[in-house]
C-alpha cells in the first residue's frame, strides 16, 4: 500500500477496545496504526501529512453492520460507490451490506463482484450472504463457498427465515463455519398489508397495524431453536444476531437469552431510538420503515437497552430509495430510510445529549460493539498494528443535515433539516483519507 503516513496530533483518542480515553497522537503508516503516544512524543517528521485534531475526538472508524448498498441491480437507488461515500461522510470505515439485491446475493460470483475494485468502494465492504436461495426461505445457499468469496454472515434481510426447519438448518450450517445468522425478525403471517405500528396512530390513519408480537414471536422462536441445537449437540454454539430490533418485548427475550449465556447479539437503528410512530404525521412516507417506528414505550426500551448494554450495536439499516418510490400511496411506498450520515449525530443527540450516555460508550456502540457483534476481527479498535481505520469528529459541533447535500444517491430521510451534534471532520480507511469535510 502506497499511502503516505499521517500523523493525527492533539486529539482525544476514544476507543473502548483498549479503554483509552485521553489525549494521544496517532501515527498511521503503510495502512496500519503505527503508533499511539502521549501528545508530542511522535516527531512531526514521521509523517508527510499532519492533521491538527485539537478539539476533535479520534476514534476507531465506525462500523455499520446493516446497510443496503443496492448493487447489483438497483443502482438507481444507490451504488456501492455512492453508498460507501455516504458511509465515509458519516464516519464509517466498514459496512456490512445486505443481500436483497437483484439478483439476491446468494452466489459466490455476486459476492466477488461486489468486492471488485471496479465498484469503487471507499470503505471496507463486507457482504452478507443470502441465507436461502433467492431469500425465498426454502433451500440454504452454499455457506462455505459464500464465506470463501467474502461473506461475513447469512441473512434473508427484508424477509425472515420463517420456517422452523430452515432456520434450524441455517443455524447449524452457519455455526460450523463460525458465521452469524442475522435474522430479520418478522412473522410475516401476522403482518400482511401492515405499514405502521399497531396502535393509536395506525387506528387514526386507517392503516393496518404491525403488532409487536410479530417481531417478538420470531425472536422467541429463534432462541428456542438455538437452545434446542445446543441441547442436542454440546459442541454447537450458534450465533444468532437480531437485526433492527424495535420492540421492548423482543429486547426482553434477547436479555433473557444473554443471561442464560446464549450467543445472541442485536442491533438497533437510530430511527428506532429517535422517533415514534407519531412521526408518520399525515402519511409521511419518509417515516415508513420495516420494522415500523414504534410507540414511545418501545422507543424508551431501546434507549434503556443501549444504556444497560443489552443492545450490542447501533446499525443504520441504511435503505436508500428513489423519489418515485416514495411519491405513492403510503401503503405502497418503499420501506426504509437512508441513515449513514445521521447515525453519529442522532446517537450523540439522543444517547449522549438527552440520556447522559458517556461519549466513549456512544463510540463503542458505533465501532467496537458492532465489529464484535458480527465478528469482524481486527476492526473497531484503535490499536497499533491494526488497520488504519479512523474517524475524527467534533463532538460539540452542531451541523444541519440536508438530504439535498447527502452523499447517498437517495434522499429518503425524515431527518432533513435536523440540527445534529457531532460533525465528522475526517474519515481515514486503511491509512487513506476517504472523507474530509
Amino acid at each position: 500500500m502506497s499511502v503516505k503516513a499521517i500523523l493525527i496530533r492533539g486529539g482525544r483518542v476514544v476507543d473502548s477496545s483498549t479503554g483509552v480515553n485521553a489525549e494521544r497522537d496517532v501515527l498511521l503508516k503503510d495502512g496500519l496504526v503505527a503508533a499511539i503516544e502521549e501528545p508530542g512524543r511522535i516527531p512531526r517528521g514521521q509523517a508527510a501529512t499532519v492533521i491538527d485534531a485539537s478539539e476533535l475526538i479520534v476514534a476507531p472508524g465506525f462500523v455499520d453492520i446493516h446497510v443496503h448498498l443496492r448493487e447489483p441491480g438497483q443502482g438507481y437507488k444507490e451504488t456501492i460507490a455512492t453508498g460507501t461515500a455516504a458511509a465515509a461522510a458519516g464516519g464509517f470505515t466498514s459496512v456490512c451490506c445486505m443481500p436483497n439485491t437483484t439478483p439476491v446475493n446468494g452466489e459466490p460470483e455476486i459476492t466477488r463482484w461486489m468486492l471488485e475494485p471496479a465498484r469503487r468502494a471507499v470503505v471496507n465492504v463486507f457482504p452478507v450472504a443470502a441465507a436461502t436461495v433467492g431469500s425465498l426461505g426454502e433451500e440454504l445457499t452454499e455457506y462455505d463457498k459464500m464465506q470463501v468469496a467474502g461473506a461475513v454472515g447469512v441473512s434473508d434481510d427484508g424477509k425472515p427465515i420463517l420456517e422452523d426447519e430452515i432456520m434450524r438448518r441455517a443455524l447449524v450450517a452457519a455455526t460450523r463455519l463460525g458465521l452469524p445468522v442475522i435474522q430479520h425478525a418478522e412473522d410475516t403471517r401476522l403482518t400482511g398489508g401492515c405499514s405502521v405500528n399497531a396502535g393509536p396512530v395506525a387506528f387514526r390513519l386507517g392503516l393496518r397495524g404491525y403488532l409487536v408480537e410479530a417481531e417478538a414471536a420470531i425472536v422467541e422462536r429463534d432462541l428456542r431453536l438455538v437452545r434446542e441445537i445446543m441441547a442436542a449437540d454440546k459442541g454447537m454454539r450458534p450465533h444468532l444476531h437480531v437485526a433492527h430490533l424495535s420492540t421492548a418485548r423482543a429486547l426482553e427475550a434477547v436479555k433473557q437469552a444473554k443471561s442464560e449465556g446464549l450467543w445472541v447479539t442485536c442491533e438497533v437503528a437510530p430511527h428506532h431510538f429517535t422517533l415514534t410512530d407519531e412521526a408518520v404525521g399525515d402519511y409521511d412516507t419518509h417515516a415508513k420503515m420495516y420494522p415500523p417506528l414504534r410507540s414511545e414505550e418501545d422507543r424508551n426500551a431501546m434507549i434503556q437497552g443501549l444504556l444497560d448494554g443489552t443492545i450490542d450495536a447501533i446499525a443504520t439499516d441504511h435503505a436508500p430509495h428513489a423519489a418515485h418510490e416514495n411519491e405513492v400511496e403510503f401503503e405502497r411506498a418503499a420501506n426504509g430510510i437512508t441513515g449513514l450520515e445521521t447515525s453519529l449525530g442522532l446517537s450523540l443527540k439522543l444517547l449522549h445529549g438527552k440520556h447522559g450516555m458517556k461519549l466513549e460508550r456512544v463510540v463503542h456502540l458505533l465501532s467496537t460493539g458492532p465489529a464484535r457483534a458480527i465478528g469482524l476481527k481486527g476492526l473497531g479498535g484503535l490499536v497499533v498494528g491494526a488497520a488504519a481505520d479512523v474517524v475524527l469528529f467534533d463532538a460539540g459541533r452542531e451541523w444541519t443535515f440536508r438530504t439535498a447535500e447527502s452523499w447517498s444517491k437517495s434522499r429518503n430521510s425524515p431527518f432533513d433539516g435536523w440540527d445534529l451534534p457531532g460533525r465528522v471532520e475526517v474519515t481515514i480507511r486503511g491509512g487513506a483519507m476517504v472523507y474530509r469535510r
Binding site: G192, F203, A279, V328, V434
Partner: protein, 346 residues
C-alpha cells in the same frame, strides 16, 4: 471525493423535524377537504350555512354559480351514493364534471396517482374529488397537484363529507341549530347528545370522521362492536369517545344510532361468526323499541339488510337513511363552492 456540488438548501427551517411538523398543520391547497380535523368550527358553520342557502336557491340561479368550472371525479373504488351525490351537486352548480375510474383509464396500465392527478390538472381540472382504497391518498394527490382535493373516502381513514352530512342530518332531526346562520356551530351545539356508532369501527372511515367531528361540537360518541372490529385503542382517536361493547346498554344512551356495514372486502382473513355478530349487534325493531324508541337511526350505506340492520328498521319511522342522502347533495354543493371559490383557478 472533494468538489461534490452542493445542491440548493431545503426550505424547511433548521431544527424543525420534518415528520412531526406535518401533524395537525393544514398546509394543503385552499378549499381542500382531506380530513375533518382540518376544519375549524367556523368552517363547519360556513359549510352548513352555505349548504342551506344553496339548497334553497332557485335551480337556475344555482347553475350560474360555478358555470363552466371543471371538476374531476377520480374514483378508484366503486360507489353509488357518494359519486352520484358529488356529480349531481356539481352539475346543479354548473360545474363540468368528468369521471375517471380505475376500470376504464390508464390507471389500469399502472399510471400512478401522482401522474393521474397531474394529467387531470393539465386537462383543466380545477378540483379533484377522490375516492381511493388507500388511506392517505388524498394527501398525496393534493401535494402532487396543488389543486383542492375533496376526500370522498380514502381506505379506512376518513370520509369527511359523510361526517358533515351526518351532522346536518342530526342537527335537522334534533332541531338543534339554526344551520343557516354562519358561526352558528359551537363547542356546545351537540352538548348532551350521544351518538352510538355500531359495527365495524376498525375498517370504517365513516366512524373515524364522525368520531373526530361530533365530539368537537359537544356530542358524546360511543363505539360499539366486538374486539376484532373495535380495538381498545380506538378511544384514543379523540376526546369524547368511549367504548360500550353491550349494544343494548349503548342503545339505552343513544340519541342517534349509526349502524355500519360489515366490510367483507376489508376483513382480510379476519374470521367473524356472522350469526353471533347478528345476534349481538343487529339493530332490529324489538331492540330499538326496548332501548331506544326515540333515537334516530343513521347508516352511511350501502346497507346489508338482514345483517347489521333489519328492513323494518331501515325503512321504519326512526330511520333517517334517505334523509342522509338528501343532505349529502347539499353538503357536497357547499364543499364544491368552497373548493372552487377559494381554491382552484389561479
Amino acid at each position: 471525493m472533494a468538489g461534490k456540488k452542493r445542491a440548493t438548501r431545503s426550505a424547511r427551517p433548521a431544527g424543525v423535524p420534518a415528520a412531526s411538523s406535518a401533524v395537525a398543520i393544514n398546509d394543503y391547497p385552499a378549499g381542500s377537504l382531506l380530513s375533518v380535523n382540518h376544519l375549524t368550527l367556523d368552517d363547519v358553520s360556513s359549510i352548513l350555512a352555505a349548504a342551506t342557502e344553496l339548497e334553497a336557491a332557485r335551480p337556475r340561479e344555482r347553475a350560474k354559480l360555478l358555470d363552466g368550472r371543471k371538476a374531476a371525479l377520480l374514483f378508484y373504488e366503486s360507489s353509488t351514493r357518494t359519486r352520484t351525490s358529488f356529480e349531481l351537486a356539481a352539475k346543479s352548480l354548473g360545474v363540468v364534471t368528468t369521471l375517471v375510474s380505475d376500470k376504464s383509464s390508464s390507471i389500469e396500465k399502472g399510471e400512478s396517482l401522482k401522474d393521474t392527478g397531474i394529467t387531470l390538472r393539465a386537462l383543466g381540472a380545477e378540483c379533484i374529488i377522490l375516492r381511493h382504497l388507500s388511506s392517505g391518498a388524498p394527501y398525496l394527490l393534493a401535494r402532487a397537484t396543488g389543486l383542492p382535493v375533496l376526500n370522498a373516502g380514502d381506505g379506512m381513514h376518513e370520509h369527511p363529507s359523510q361526517a358533515l352530512l351526518d351532522l346536518r342530518t342530526i342537527l335537522a332531526r334534533l332541531r338543534l341549530a339554526p344551520a343557516a346562520r354562519r358561526g352558528a356551530i359551537s363547542r356546545t351545539t351537540l352538548r348532551g347528545v350521544t351518538v352510538v356508532i355500531t359495527g365495524d369501527i376498525l375498517h370504517s372511515r365513516v366512524a373515524r370522521s364522525n368520531s373526530l367531528l361530533l365530539p368537537r361540537l359537544g356530542a358524546r360518541v360511543v363505539f360499539c362492536g366486538p374486539p376484532e372490529l373495535l380495538p381498545e385503542h380506538a378511544v384514543t382517536i379523540g376526546r369524547g369517545v368511549s367504548i360500550e361493547r353491550d349494544f343494548d346498554k349503548a342503545l339505552a344512551k343513544a340519541d342517534v344510532v349509526m349502524m355500519l356495514r360489515i366490510q367483507k372486502e376489508r376483513l382480510a382473513g379476519l374470521q367473524l361468526d356472522l350469526a353471533e355478530y347478528t345476534d349481538r349487534y343487529q339493530l332490529h325493531n324489538e331492540r330499538l323499541a326496548l332501548y331506544a324508541p326515540k333515537a334516530c337511526v343513521l347508516h352511511p350505506g350501502p346497507i346489508n339488510r338482514g345483517l347489521e340492520i333489519t328492513s323494518e328498521v331501515a325503512d321504519g319511522p326512526q330511520s333517517m337513511i334517505a334523509e342522509q342522502v338528501r343532505h349529502g347533495v347539499a353538503i357536497r354543493m357547499s364543499l364544491l363552492v368552497r373548493a372552487l371559490q377559494t381554491g382552484g383557478r389561479g
